[in-house]
């Protein structure tokens, strides 16, 4: 079981590196992406500074300016996502194929033991294709997802491919509107 855990960790490191490598080849190194990224960073910083300076003021002129800049930033962010999207689809397909191959290799094998009993809606994933009712047994897919969650983002950060905090905060997240940062 220990060996399987190690193998899966190794697989997820390799796939994360491969994914980042492919993305670099298809996206990160292109001039269009670099230009757009620099533009988004610059605009995010400028917008942040403007919000800091005039955030609470009721001046209509400043508000209009901020709104205009937000609109520009939104458009640039959309363009940036579009540049990324094509290659992301290609990589996504390749990795789905790879994942199904690994899935069939580890099919029905207990690769780790969970130190807790997962809640019911996670059990479907953590006990996928495993025989028996011992829900502390972990399937390949669950361990792979966890390893990828912890490794992929760290690799992106290490290689400098992760989006800057300022840009991601200005563009907001799925959890709500962007908070007022760095007051």
């Amino acid at each position: 079981m220990w060996a399987d855990t190690l193998v899966i960790l190794f697989i997820s490191v390799c796939t994360a590196l491969l994914g980042e490598g492919l993305t670099w080849l298809m996206v990160y190194r292109t001039e269009k992406y670099q230009k757009l990224k620099a533009e988004v960073e610059r605009q995010s910083k400028r917008l942040e500074k403007r919000k800091e300076a005039h955030g609470d003021s009721l001046d209509k002129q400043h508000k209009k300016k901020i709104e205009r800049e937000e609109e520009k930033l939104k458009n640039n962010n959309r363009d940036l996502s579009l540049v990324k999207m094509k290659s992301m689809f290609a990589i996504g397909f390749a990795f789905t194929a790879l994942l199904s191959m690994f899935n069939s290799i580890f099919d029905g094998r207990v690769v780790a033991r969970l130190p807790f009993l997962p809640i019911s809606w996670i059990q479907g994933l953590s006990h996928r294709n495993l025989p028996g009712d011992d829900y502390t047994e972990c399937s390949f897919i669950f361990l792979y997802i966890l390893c990828t969650m912890s490794i992929r983002q760290n690799i992106q950060k290490m290689l400098g491919f992760a989006p800057s905090r300022t840009a991601s905060k200005q563009s907001g997240s799925i959890f709500g509107p962007p908070p007022q940062q760095f007051k």
């Binding site: 220990w2 855990t5 960790l9 780790a112 033991r113 969970l114 130190p115 807790f116 009993l117 972990c138 361990l143 966890l146 390893c147 969650m149 912890s150 983002q153 760290n154 950060k157 800057s164 905090r165 908070p179 007022q180 940062q181 760095f182 007051k183």
Partner: protein, 122 residues
Amino acid sequence: MTSKLKSSEKNGATIKSQALDSVWTRAFTSNSEWPDKEEFLDVIYWSRQALGIIIGLLWGLIPLKGFIALLLFVLVNAGLIYIYFTNFQSVDEEEYGGAWELTKEGFMTSFAGFLVGTFFMW
């Protein structure tokens, strides 16, 4: 990795360049100066990742399991980082958008690292 802090005098005649210690030294020295906020957030991020794996291995060794292990991880992880930035580094958390922003920095990744860590010792 040495960063420079440039400070210009008001008359604009001279520009002094004062070298700050490396990020590593500042991270382990109390009440360090963090002119670049991103640098400090990176320190928080990476220390949280290390902490996640260490706690995971430790919980697996003890062994701690069940919901209590997860709860204790959240408390220890958040608590240690909170003590680090309030007591050890004494940064003004409002500059970073409040204590919550610092507390959640890199938390999910750290949690995933913690779980993987426990699987190895379990």
